[in-house]
Symmetry: C3
Subunit: 467 residues, 3 copies
């Protein structure tokens, strides 16, 4: 591969991600101007609350930026770099290796987020290359040592109004409590994610169940007590600020079991005898329970189906989850969600936020469901689709059927703390550009577009998640 000489600095262009057409660009810039300084609402993500509870300085760039980010590891691995070289050994050398392969991220959202992060958060003017790697590393190390780069200071500088974490059902939420008791004003709330106790065919289910029982304060010996524990924990999470639950399933299958069947499955699981088919039925039933509880406690229900987890068995065995290649599968919503939506979808107390990795469902199933059932909202483009083109496709395929007013605003869904502003900025730019395109084609008035830009950047997330 030929390497062509290039300038080593690239300040971020102020009109980046906007279409070059002058009418659209002008419109996009104007809309973006109105949203770019709005506070960040982050109702779904994977930031470790310990970071903000302890507020300790981040150690150095590699463990902050490279190693926790499976988006980065994934593509480096795919081009032939062994994970060992990225996860072990001298952080400076890993940074160097990362920088030498930075060209892989050109044209990807990860590249766009990293450019923003390096430039806007850390003030790095040079492009990241093998040649500039050392200087960049040193510059970030220096920044991280200063008080302005402590987690809480960054939280405030990022203008985060509220940040939701994602927490297991058995989590005591000690970090959240510590944050609240610290007197710091940053709003960090938990989200109830009970997946681990739903997956009755998983090897570690008994461990997870025990952990839940321990937090609940009673052993979970029958299905009734199990459900009671879930109800209890939801109330505890709610008292700790939670406004939502979250559920990751392979298929969005839903349907009630009879009380007897539920009990039988639960006891089979306790004997270690639950199959994958049992798990599917049990999860489908528990999603019905979750919706029922949402009507009572008001927690918003999120559903993230369609990821085949840990596709790469040997990598998973060596390096654990989130490094084992999670690959999407085709997902069916219309038939799978019918039992749940028939039971609860018309109830004004219920909100169900749907996500997908299968873009073919946007116009075929999701927008029609959201355009009909009062309870349904569409979550923003998820994971691989949280990108310029992915966001464009989402808007183009859902807006005409569901309107933007049945979508849930933006979620950053990130594990990488310093990427939060980059992700929200990208989303606001893409939405501004999308709306400006509609104005330029005289589909929307400017005044409509302004209202919609603000809704997408701020209002809809607050409204959907009851924040």
């Amino acid at each position: 591969m030929t390497t062509i000489a290039r300038p080593v600095t690239r300040p971020l262009h102020e009109d980046r991600f906007f279409d070059p057409d002058p009418a659209i660009r002008r419109g996009a810039r104007a809309l973006y101007e109105e949203t770019c300084r709005l506070p960040i609402i982050a109702p779904h993500g994977h930031i470790d609350p310990q970071i903000l509870a302890e507020n300790a300085p981040f150690p150095e760039p590699t463990s902050l930026i490279v190693q926790p980010d499976h988006y980065i590891l994934r593509l480096l691995y795919a081009r032939g770099i062994p994970l060992e070289r990225l996860l072990e050994g001298d952080p400076r050398k890993v940074w160097q290796l990362f920088a030498e392969h930075y060209f892989l991220f050109h044209g990807t959202p990860t590249g766009a987020w990293l450019d923003h992060e390096l430039h806007e958060v850390f003030g790095i003017a040079e492009r990241l290359t093998g040649e500039t790697a050392g200087r960049t590393y040193d510059a970030i190390v220096e920044k991280l040592a200063s008080p302005e780069f402590r987690p809480r200071a960054l939280f405030e500088r990022f203008n985060i109004e509220v940040l939701a974490t994602t927490d297991q059902a058995s989590d005591p939420l000690d970090h959240h409590r510590a944050i609240r008791e610290s007197g710091w004003q940053g709003k960090v709330i938990p989200c109830f994610r009970p997946d681990a106790v739903f997956k009755i065919a998983a090897r570690d289910w008994p461990v997870q169940l025990d952990a839940l029982g321990r937090e609940h304060g009673a052993p979970l010996v029958d299905y009734g007590e199990f459900v009671h524990a879930l109800e209890d924990r939801r109330l505890f999470f709610k008292r700790m600020g939670a406004t939502a639950t979250d559920h990751a399933v392979l298929e969005p299958y839903t349907g009630w079991l009879s009380p007897d069947d539920a009990e039988v499955l639960f006891q089979q699981a306790r004997q270690g005898e639950a199959s994958r088919a049992d798990e599917r039925r049990f999860e489908g039933h528990l999603l019905m329970e979750m919706a029922r509880m949402s009507l009572e406690d008001g927690l918003v229900m999120q559903l993230h189906p369609g990821a085949f987890r840990n596709h790469n068995q040997s990598l998973f065995e060596r390096f654990g989850p989130d490094r084992g290649g999670d690959i999407p599968v085709a997902t069916e919503f219309t038939r799978n969600l019918r039992p749940l939506l028939n039971a609860y979808g018309n109830d004004p107390r219920f909100t169900l936020v749907l996500f997908t990795l299968d873009e073919s469902t946007y116009s075929r199933e999701l927008a029609p469901l959201a355009g009909h059932y009062p309870a349904v909202r569409l979550g923003p483009p998820w994971w691989f689709h949280d990108s310029l083109e992915g966001m464009r496709r989402f808007r183009e395929r859902t807006t005409e059927t569901a309107s933007i007013y049945k979508t849930a605003g933006f979620n950053d869904d990130t594990r990488a703390f310093c990427s939060i502003p980059a992700r929200h900025d990208l989303a606001r730019r893409v939405d501004a550009n999308f709306l400006a395109g509609l104005v330029a084609r005289h589909v929307l008035d400017v005044s409509d577009a302004r209202r919609m830009a603000r809704a997408l950047a701020y209002d809809l997330a607050k409204e959907t998640y009851k924040l």
Copy 2:
């Protein structure tokens, strides 16, 4: 949600829906200029022929515009407005409620059609908002009282060359007869839609069968007589002007049953014992029969598969069909249609117009089928996809494989009489813009594009439907 002040008037922009690029816009405008005044060919839709048979004045705006339009009801319901509030009570109040929520339709095709309808048909200069609702209502009421707003006068003003309705197999077509005998020159033809007598697992199948037998003039006691009745009714429809049949199925499954199996299923159905699986096989067999009959009587066969009807059971039970949330499902054509296409797809006497709600089939299955079998034509983007972006996707994904010359032109498919010109205008604009984009990229000559624009707006619909 913040409401930003906006101007209350918005005349429709003459270049609406065209790309802002000057080369494309100029080209689109020129092509549109050549097609915008062509007569409307409406070969598939759901206008009630009684309207034109009686030619009575429309009573008032709500029952004309809001209540029959499930596109409008759907989205209002989805944002939490109970259907009772929209379907019952004072029409003025319903209109007010609709107007207050009109922002939901910004950026949707329903919004584009309504804007056209209000402005071009009713001459309303103001935008519809809660504030202007009353004045708008009154202005429309006044118009509707004048002779120029009687149905036939509008039909002529809309420049409709031919309008096809959609009628049950047992329909005596009295309204069509009345129109023909009235001396009025408007061409309103029926379309043979025998779905109700194909759905042998439905509760009301016996009633539907009786109705068919009554019109046929003999009780339908065996399968042979049933098929004979269908043949007869097709000929009756043809004598009344029909050139096409239409079939809505969940899956486009086709395949012959043996004569014995057909008879057994038919008798099971008469005993009320047909299952959904039986119905699927029976429908697949009847589609084969329909194609066979088409070879004989020359009626064009339309297939509309893939809608899961009445998804929302409780709403369906209270408010009936078309309000119970019809939601698309993934649809398979390649294997399902093989028996039918192997039997009849090479026959020059046969035309099969395929529609879909599953856009992933456009490039994967539908364009390759239309690009091979002489009998196959692709119907225009259907329902949720009858929109700016939907039409663009359809053209982009089918033209390169099937050419525009294997598509069927435009269908408005509407239940809302006054939206007919809006829908055809939108389609002509989008097609002009699509072709102008190809000219601007030097894919097409201007002369090719002119021929194609005319074909899409007029010629192809006439040719396909033998009008």
Copy 3:
């Protein structure tokens, strides 16, 4: 259909296929300038090597351009022209018929390739129409008689650095040998495609097995010997220059059989008793074997799944394969490929190039797989999707997740020798335009885009196919 008068000449526009936006067009032109003269790497296609072995003059235009090209035959047939009229009788009359229907190809990639071929290869200035057909035919006949239009001269003029053919496992590769022994320097290499001996349910499988045994030099009486023959033939192909294998399957199902099961299936097949389900399992097992062998011999493995072959039974029976309507089906990769990728996908010695006819898998399955497994590369948009819009969709849906560096550059996949430069030129233009769009939106630097343009046009194909 109205025919509008049009100019009879249309030189190809130098900016064809570029977006009209000035910033994008300027950028696309500059990038294309850097790639348009790079040699052609053609690692996958269907050119008959006999043409280049014999180097005889091509006889006349119809048998050169129309009759071998199933893209052309397909669409003419679909508009109602019987295949007999195209395949039999006077070539001049067939050419006339083709020319009269040339409007069908406007806006299709076939039209773009033909325009390029007629203009750039044969120097025809006039547009092809019924009126110009005779003159065009005569002009091509005259050219074909000259030495500059012999196959090898054209190969050199086309600037082909390497051309891979596609050859059965039992092929003695005599033409390849003749080319090598002729002293001509053109590089023409075989590709190992053993499909015919994998399809154990096919009627001609015994014949195919015998042919393989004959070339292998020993009768293939058991599974062990069969596998041994495959290993042997791969090495023979490799000695003759091959760097890749290719496999067409209905589903990309993979999975080991036990040695006993493999033997049982093989013997069943020899008795003519293998079912389609047996074939599926046997093929899934042989794909595992192929991957295993690739680790040893280094041949790159290509997989082309998802075409339902010979959909149109009666046409297939009369005219044979490639005229019987091959129609795509929905294709599943995530689960189907898991066994193969778990076994070999992490091995640096292995390269697997994946193709699809199901565009819904681009962003859902293929890009995530390529963005994770080191072995996986994405082949270029295949067949119906080898088009302007198809290539745009491919880039837009795969680049953000997999980067361009996990794609395999361009394949022309053609049977039409004179279309080779047209197809590569179109791909280079579309890629230049795609990258220029990213530069114009400030997603990429110009320097990144230049590197990427060159990679897409040349480097990635060489690297992926080890050329």
